[in-house]
């Protein structure tokens, strides 16, 4: 036997493929990983601590900055939690607006994932193609709420803005455009043998492991567990729409890839139905007390963000500020499985697997 020496490699916090300031210390034997220790906290801003001194309206902009790729769902989970506590009713149009922006956000978020994942794997162009199409959504959001990334769009009891004139038509036009582009994406890499060889059978785990590790979103569904909160525990208006929950079989990176792409199509399908069913006019802000002061008690609500189950646990003592606010961040929970998956893989697969989990470091560190 040749005696080989272990190489301790520090991947990150500044590394092109760790999607932010995430760091993994890997022990390498040649190029094979024998141990991986994730280190995080480089982007920890103490959102939960800050929130204890802020009232609920003020916390909404902070939620934008957790999962900055999918700020709308973060907005929603907080508002939804407070509304659940206070038993508020949301006007139908407002709820439709929320649903539409959340589904658009899911499309935008999955596009970012698709682009960056292929960039991780070494293809440059898909990144720009994805960002071209995401840009349309971002522009729509910009028109709707005046910001491109940190929307601060939802409020407890409704949404800040109604759709501007013609906005819904633009969304309507976007759907067939995006469907066409999805086919183009599929042509670009969907059949690429190099790409398939890179992701098929990589980062495999079974359903039991996924449940044990509390994975959610595509990471859970790739093992065949049918658990999409939009269907399993419907919130908002999701029980009014027809859509499928794509499921995988093998639980590898390829299944996760397919599921996310299929989710894009399903989101477009939901959008289509939502635009049809949406009331043509109405209030977008419900009847809300001037000072939002949830009654004493606690509540845990969860919704399906693009990355999985995002939850919000509020402990209130009847004040305008939460006594304790905790977010269940899907990226944080999903990332836990990484060290387990990496052992025995090569350095190259580290990137493939990490990208496949789809983390946003802002959310991991909160």
């Amino acid at each position: 036997m040749i005696r080989t020496e272990e190489l301790l490699l520090n991947v990150g916090p500044q590394h092109p493929s760790t999607h932010g300031v995430f760091r993994i210390i890997v022990k390498l034997d040649g190029e094979v990983i024998t141990e991986a220790i994730p280190v995080m906290g480089y982007l920890h801003r103490g959102t939960e601590k800050l929130a204890e001194d802020l009232n609920f309206t003020q916390i909404i902009p902070y939620t934008d900055r957790m999962d900055y790729v999918s700020a709308m769902t973060n907005n929603y989970v907080l508002c939804h939690a407070v509304e659940t506590m206070m038993g508020l009713e949301i006007p139908e149009r407002a709820e439709f607006m929320r649903l539409i922006v959340m589904e658009l956000q899911r499309v935008a978020s999955h596009l970012v994932w698709w682009g960056t994942y292929l960039l991780d794997i070494g293809a440059m162009s898909p990144f720009l193609y994805a960002f071209r199409d995401r840009e349309i959504i971002i522009d729509l959001f910009n028109e709707l709420c005046g910001a491109r990334l940190t929307y601060n769009y939802m409020r407890v009891g409704g949404v800040k803005w109604d759709a501007p004139e013609g906005w819904l038509d633009k969304v309507r036009d976007f759907i067939p455009y995006m469907e066409k582009k999805l086919d183009e994406y599929n042509n670009l890499v969907g059949g690429n043998e190099i790409f398939l060889a890179r992701i098929k059978g990589i980062g495999k785990y079974d359903a039991q492991t996924a449940i044990d590790y509390g994975l959610s979103g595509a990471n859970l569904r790739c093992t065949g567990v049918d658990w999409d909160l939009r269907k399993a525990e419907p919130y908002s208006l999701y029980n009014r729409f027809e859509f499928d929950v794509p499921l995988g079989k093998t639980g590898d990176c390829y299944d996760r890839y397919l599921i996310r792409l299929e989710e894009l199509r399903q989101s477009l399908r939901i959008l289509k139905q939502a635009l049809e069913q949406m009331p043509s006019s109405g209030e977008v802000m419900g009847k809300v007390p001037r000072v939002i002061r949830p009654p004493a008690g606690e509540v845990y609500v969860r919704i399906e963000s693009p990355r999985g189950e995002i939850g919000c646990h509020i402990v209130s003592k009847g004040k305008a500020e939460p006594y304790r606010l905790k977010f269940r961040r899907p990226s944080f929970v999903n990332l836990q499985i990484l060290p387990k998956l990496l052992v025995g893989e090569t350095m190259t697969n580290l990137i493939t697997i990490l990208g496949g989990i789809d983390i946003v470091v802002g959310e991991v560190d909160a």
């Binding site: 190489l7 490699l9 590394h15 092109p16 493929s17 390498l28 190029e31 292929l118 960039l119 991780d120 794997i121 070494g122 293809a123 440059m124 162009s125 720009l128 193609y129 071209r132 670009l188 890499v189 690429n192 190099i194 790409f195 060889a197 890179r198 090569t346 350095m347 190259t348 697969n349 580290l350 990137i351």
Partner: protein, 337 residues
């Protein structure tokens, strides 16, 4: 050119050779400058961008500005690096890259050296660059660089073998290792070029050549999404420029070599088109290959290192050997007999 080569070496001749060398260097540098520019443009267009357009008209001076920037950059050598090797590596990489250009013929009459073992010379010299990359990776004393260097060594050795064997078929058909003769041997119809009778060899050669160039989808030694920048992660300034230069000079060399070996060199695709000078045909074919390399880079994801090895040894090498046998059989049965 050929005439001088046969004369005995005098001071005058040496000066002329030197001047030709300088001219070639200038041409190559010019090529590298604009190859980088066009690479960025082409990839930009493919990625729905417009590429560099700020420095000079249409951005034509962009690469000049980039090179100038590299020139005036501070020369940094990591404290724990192996100084001698660290300094040696970029030069060692570049010298063979430039030296191999000597044997490439551009037309029937325009060539720099007419060596009978031209192809062998090319392969032998280009192998030295591998050593330089390994040295650079090792001397940097950086783990990413080391991984990149090791990958590079493994990759280049693995792909050199099918690369060489894939051209054996061409050599057999021509009966010579002299690149000028190989070029000349191909006919004036495009089906008389080597790429059709040697289609297996051609495909293997292209794949192995892209791999030898360390370009996408075989850019593992510098894989920026995994190894940050691979073997040249610690290099900056002009030392980095040398590595960059090496890469593009090899692009030049491989494109020229492919043209000569498989695409009929300076021959027109049909006899009635031979009023166009041979050099134009050569450059046209040459440009197509360079464009193809850029095109690949804009489309392909990167292959994984173990798949790369497997592909090299298990697919390309047997194919190349098969090609040799088929060529031998064909020659034995139909030509010789």
């Amino acid at each position: 050119m050929g005439a001088w080569l046969d004369e005995s070496l005098t001071w005058g001749n040496a000066l002329i050779f030197f001047l030709w060398g300088v001219i070639l260097l200038t041409i190559v540098l010019g090529f590298v400058t604009y190859a980088i520019y066009f690479e960025r443009k082409v990839i930009g267009w493919m990625q729905l961008r417009i590429g560099p357009n700020r420095v000079g008209p249409l951005g034509l001076l962009q690469t000049v500005a980039d090179i100038f920037k590299l020139l005036i950059k501070e020369d940094t050598i990591p404290r724990k690096a192996d100084r001698v090797l660290f300094i040696l590596a970029p030069a060692l990489a570049y010298v063979p890259a430039f030296a191999v250009l000597a044997v490439i013929p551009y037309t029937q009459d325009l060539y720099f050296a007419d060596i009978n073992v031209g192809l062998l010379y090319y392969v032998a010299l280009s192998g030295i660059s591998t050593i330089a990359i390994v040295i650079g990776g090792w001397a940097s004393n950086n783990k990413y660089a080391l991984l990149g260097g090791m990958r590079s060594a493994a990759q280049m050795i693995s792909y050199e073998v099918p690369l060489v064997i894939s051209v054996v078929g061409v050599v057999m058909m021509t009966g010579s290792l002299n690149l000028r003769l190989i070029g000349e041997h191909q006919g004036n119809w495009f089906w008389e070029w080597n790429f059709l009778p040697q289609i297996i060899g051609f495909v293997v050669f292209i794949i192995a050549a892209v791999s030898e160039l360390n370009r996408t989808p075989f850019d593992l030694p510098e894989a920026e999404s995994e190894l940050v920048a691979g073997y040249h992660v610690e290099y900056s300034g002009f030392r980095f420029a040398f590595f960059m230069l090496t890469e593009y000079v090899y692009v030049y060399a491989i494109a020229a070599l492919t043209t000569v070996l498989f695409l009929g060199g300076w021959h027109p695709p049909a006899p009635f088109l031979d009023f166009v000078p041979g050099i134009v045909w050569f450059l046209l074919k040459f440009s197509c290959i360079v464009f193809f390399l850029f095109w690949l880079r804009a489309t392909m994801p990167r292959i994984r290192v173990d798949q790369l090895m497997g592909f090299g040894w298990k697919v390309l090498l047997p194919l190349a050997i098969l090609n040799v046998f088929i060529t031998a059989l064909y020659l034995e049965l139909f030509i010789k007999g």
